[in-house]
């Protein structure tokens, strides 16, 4: 069965211009999202994973320079003007963040906020919107009697649920989840992830999940993209990835997560202000060769997988 593509990202380059120089946070990134799958982008902090996700909905600050082609359902959306794009952002692509309070209005009752989002996108009566909002609250397993609560009266997990309800108010096809459970307790994280999984199946949604937690990736992902210093190092299916990661960085990352008391990756993530002549992971890599310092690896397609490393050769 050929998988239907929902989102295609080609040659995505993002840099921030600052007074002390340019910061390259995304370097020729390519990936596609198939309909109905969960794609996880995983990487250490500062690797640019959130920036890539935010760029898809144009939520980046003004000093970001974005180049590349983004196609949604086969139509390029990277060239659309703001007005046309706002429609897609509202109705087709929704985003949830790590800090729910950053996108919930603190002085508005949560039910009204969900209803408002619904009204803004579907132009219906107030009564209808309220009914829809109640339905959404039930869907995210919030007690309906919290309709009139203010955000600060809710716990972190509940706030996260409200944000999901707002994001789902107009049945988006793509949900971008930027570290949705990072600041939550394990028990709450588990419940939120379960909820996302359930909603995904119910609405045939596609989820693009940004996280640094391998445990979350292991449970949620269908396919995985590993980012390092603005580069997409490897894209693999879940089973392949956890059975046999290809890129040396992915290998080491999994080792560290499996046994943090005995493995470590020496060194630190590079400063994104430098330009790399070779592979950005070269200084920390234990499989490096002389070529790695001078030649920048290109993405190599190996069946279903894509790897960006000079030493991984398709057999």
């Amino acid at each position: 069965m050929k998988k239907e593509k929902l989102l295609e990202v080609e040659q995505l380059n993002i840099k921030f211009t600052t007074s002390i120089g340019d910061v390259n946070v995304s370097d020729d990134i390519n990936f596609t999202l198939n309909k109905g799958e969960t794609f996880c982008i995983v990487g250490e902090s500062g690797c640019g994973k959130s920036v890539v996700a935010l760029s898809l909905t144009r939520l980046l600050p003004e000093n970001a320079v974005i180049n590349g082609l983004v196609k949604f359902e086969g139509h390029p959306i990277s060239g659309l003007d703001e007005k046309a794009f706002a429609k897609i952002r509202g109705q087709k692509i929704a985003t949830i963040f790590e800090q729910p309070m950053s996108c919930i209005n603190p002085v508005m009752r949560i039910g009204d906020q969900i209803a408002e989002t619904y009204r803004a996108n579907f132009n219906c009566s107030k009564k209808e919107a309220k009914l829809q909002a109640i339905k959404k609250l039930e869907e995210v397993k919030m007690p309906v009697n919290r309709y009139n609560a203010y955000p600060h009266e809710l716990s972190g997990g509940m706030q996260q649920r409200v944000m999901i309800a707002i994001a789902l108010a107009c049945n988006p096809q793509l949900l971008i989840a930027d570290e949705p459970t990072t600041s939550l307790d394990v028990t709450v994280q588990y419940q939120i992830l379960e909820l996302l999984q359930e909603l995904k199946e119910k609405y045939h949604m596609t989820i693009l999940m940004i996280t640094h937690d391998m445990g979350v990736v292991h449970d949620m992902a269908d396919r995985i993209g590993v980012m390092y210093a603005g580069n997409m190092m490897e894209i693999s299916e879940r089973e392949d990835f956890f059975k046999k990661p290809l890129h040396p960085y992915a290998v080491e990352l999994l080792n560290v997560v499996k046994d943090p008391c005995h493995y470590t990756i020496p060194g630190a993530v590079p400063n994104l202000m430098e330009t790399f002549t070779g592979c950005p992971f070269e200084p920390r890599c234990n499989k490096k060769t002389a070529l790695c310092k001078t030649n920048k690896p290109e993405s190599v397609v190996m069946g279903e997988r894509i790897v960006r490393c000079l030493n991984v050769v398709p057999n």
Partner: protein
């Protein structure tokens, strides 16, 4: 050091020169009356013209700025000291002492400052000394409240705990951690208040409750000039400009110092 701070420092240095080296630069005695040259415009002999009594305006302005700035510095320094003592005692001792001191401060804060100052100056009689007293009396409470707030916040900072865990005693944490974190907001606040106090002094002198003629003072000079507004506009334009200059330079300095002292603001945000 950024340009903002440099500008502020240059402006303040010029002002300091006017205030403290003024008598050396001033070409004439500011009290010397010469009716033959009264109400003259700008000329070579009198750079900024003369007033209704023929006194050299330039020399008078130099002395006048000195008077206003010195009074405001004294007021701010004195209220800051009193406020600092009150505020830190309240915050460090806490409990009933804190409660008691804060209620006193509340009483002082409840007075309408301007009216109260006018009343004191009116009762004690208008003079430079009385107006200084009146201003200190009405302004120390806001310093005290500010210091108390800062100390209470600083006391709870996690790095205080960390240094206690390393064996630091109360004295050490107060001197090394709490007071430095109070010092910075306090001095920023004080710089702000200099400009503010300056305006109060000028205003009070303008309505005749502050520094008395013939002592040169910016507000008093504008007051004297009001009868000659149409015939000799330089008499109020120059003092007016000077007031703006002083207030402006203190505000610039206050703003840039705040940025300079906080190492976190200094470093550039990349993303």
């Amino acid at each position: 050091m950024d340009n903002h701070l440099k500008t502020g420092l240059v402006l303040i240095l010029v002002l300091a020169a006017i205030v403290f080296a003024g008598p050396l630069i001033a070409p004439y005695d500011p009290f010397e009356v010469d009716m033959s040259v009264r109400l003259q415009g700008i000329s070579l002999a009198h750079t900024m013209g003369t007033d209704q009594l023929g006194r050299d305006l330039f020399s008078r302005l130099i002395y006048a700025t000195g008077t206003s700035v010195k009074i405001s510095l004294v007021v701010v320094a004195a209220s800051m000291t009193i406020g600092f003592i009150f505020g830190s005692v309240a915050a460090f001792l806490g409990g009933a002492v804190d409660e008691f001191l804060m209620r006193i401060i509340d009483v002082f804060m409840a007075f309408p400052t301007k009216i109260f100052t006018i009343a004191i100056a009116g009762v004690l009689g208008a003079s430079a000394f009385n107006i200084t007293l009146a201003l200190i009396f009405t302004s120390w409470a806001s310093y005290a409240r500010m210091v108390r707030g800062c100390v209470l916040t600083a006391k709870q900072l996690p790095f205080i705990d960390a240094s206690v865990a390393l064996g630091a005693n109360r004295h050490y944490t107060i001197v090394k951690h709490v007071l430095p974190s109070v010092f910075q907001p306090l001095s920023t606040f004080a710089f702000q208040r200099i400009a503010h106090t300056m305006m109060a002094i000028v205003g009070l002198s303008f309505i005749g409750l502050g520094v008395q003629p013939p002592t040169p003072e910016l507000g008093a000079m504008i007051n004297e000039s009001k009868n000659f507004m149409t015939t000799a506009p330089h008499l109020f334009i120059f003092p007016g400009l000077l007031i703006s200059y002083v207030v402006f330079s203190f505000n610039i300095l206050d703003d840039s110092l705040r940025d300079y002292w906080d190492p976190r603001i200094k470093s550039e945000l990349v993303l």
